[in-house]
Point group: C2
Chain length 355, copies 2
Amino acid sequence: MSYKDHILLKACRREETERTPIWIMRQAGRYLPEYRAVREKFDFMTMCHTPELAAEVTVQPINRFALDAAIIFSDILVVPEAMGMKLTVIESQGPVFDERISSPESIDRLNTEAITDRLKYVYDAIKMTKERLENKVPLIGFAGSPWTLAAYMVEGKGSKNFEKIKSFIYNNPSDANKLLEKLANAVSAYLIGKIDAGCDAIQIFDTWAGILSPWDFDEFSLKYIKQIVNNIKHKNVPVIVFAKGINNYKKIVQTGCDVVGVDWTNDIGHVKKEIGSAKALQGNLDPVVLFSNTEKIKKEAARILESYGTASGHIFNLGHGILPNTPVENVETLVEFVRSKSQEYHLIEHKNVTV
Amino acid sequence: MSYKDHILLKACRREETERTPIWIMRQAGRYLPEYRAVREKFDFMTMCHTPELAAEVTVQPINRFALDAAIIFSDILVVPEAMGMKLTVIESQGPVFDERISSPESIDRLNTEAITDRLKYVYDAIKMTKERLENKVPLIGFAGSPWTLAAYMVEGKGSKNFEKIKSFIYNNPSDANKLLEKLANAVSAYLIGKIDAGCDAIQIFDTWAGILSPWDFDEFSLKYIKQIVNNIKHKNVPVIVFAKGINNYKKIVQTGCDVVGVDWTNDIGHVKKEIGSAKALQGNLDPVVLFSNTEKIKKEAARILESYGTASGHIFNLGHGILPNTPVENVETLVEFVRSKSQEYHLIEHKNVTV
């Protein structure tokens, strides 16, 4: 079997598979005791910056569970960091920039020239991880969308109402577009570097898609995701776009991506009907379902498989990143259940095709 | 003109009006200097508990702006408080319960008997406010949905991922339903009391609708909103249901409400198409647009009026509560603009009807 025939990559291309592949957003994370053991010795950004550590925690969930993909351990904010913004991750507070973007000059100061040189440690981590994975599963690389990165850079940290970034796009749209353009170019170069280093698929996270009106989303987020997808498509690896909190998934189809990520507040079967069969779908179990019991986990996972139905092109995942306090045994339950239960939906399809 | 012919109440019934009525969620709030002057002298819960103070801040925005409705100053958490849960509002942190709901016993201890006796201060505030309003504008009463109240009561305070309340509904659905049932009954009695005290319309806030999967929303939120709407419909006042973050507005139609509140992440014209003309719609300007300039405020307000189009049944509002740092002059700009600009949409309709 050629590596291109891996079940995850086939599902991205909507080719038939014997079952539904599964991976979990933020699967290399604090819910794993072996991750916490590393994290006790090193702070979060040191783990991102040190290829050996990033590779180690990336493969941890692969060694433990029968997952169908690894995703390189990193953070979306390494890109603004490489542009010159000093970043501290405070455990209780999340990431905080020393100085936020607050003027045209602070945008001009962002250094995108040869940015991939300053992100070489990520590429080294990818190469190391690929060796450790021994082609067992594909490796996903990722980046934040320009809008989501800009939101962090202008707020300076996480936010509740996002008054600063929204005031910025409302009052200075041309400066805002300049920043977003700069980010789209930097992210494109960064992702091409990730693919060149060995990533087999790419996911773009638009974590803050859901805070915008439909018109602002088009102008300040969607446009730049499209640019990135267009800039990297010659690399010929599947691109997943996950825009959390969005209402209109048809817009994500317009980005030219291969896979549309769906959050848990939607019925994945409805989204499939809405967008037609042009794209694969990824999702979408509520991460908090993993705090419940075996019966409920199976019931909700089965509901998602049933809602997607007997068609190719479904990648099972959570509808958002796994939470730090998730019991590890429940992840095991989910992965095993999806692997076995999903065969029913693929068998039926296969029958229909051959009879 | 009979009071029933007030423009807001006509719009709730989808009758023709000469322009689009407007009010603003949380319009009696911290963005107003005259509110802050009261708030400096009294803490938030004292303001809720003291009819004179609640009436005073309720009429403040009516005295300042040409709004089409007042909404009684209060908090959704006065209901669990009246059930025996001690509540503190910490300015930087929001409301915090001394003890959260964490066991079947703590649900049993919730005292709903004669709950309206312990909420008499709200009814007194309503009566006082009605006198001060002199029938200039209708007065809206409100309550939190059982789901949203339960979320606060089980988390004990606001939350990011809502692990406690979701674990509760997943692991103990029958206890959860018992709590929600108790809340639905208490809220129904509370709202009937509000209408009897003089409220001309009711809004139910399901602030945390958007954190649930479609199935969980049906089972743990929608069902109980339906019960409340059904319990109060004999009172014959319009009911607005605002379920923030929802994807499928057709579900809100099923509650039997008169008006569907729409948050700012949706195109109100799309929602209108989706649900047909069975219900009036309320919304939906992004509250942060009020941090921008006059031109942008008018542009975005005009976009919403245009999207709703030339039909009756639109109540202009923000897509969520107004934010504390909103410049007061921008509220003035919005109210005046909507009052004048919206006439175009009603004139055109009138022309079409009479030509």
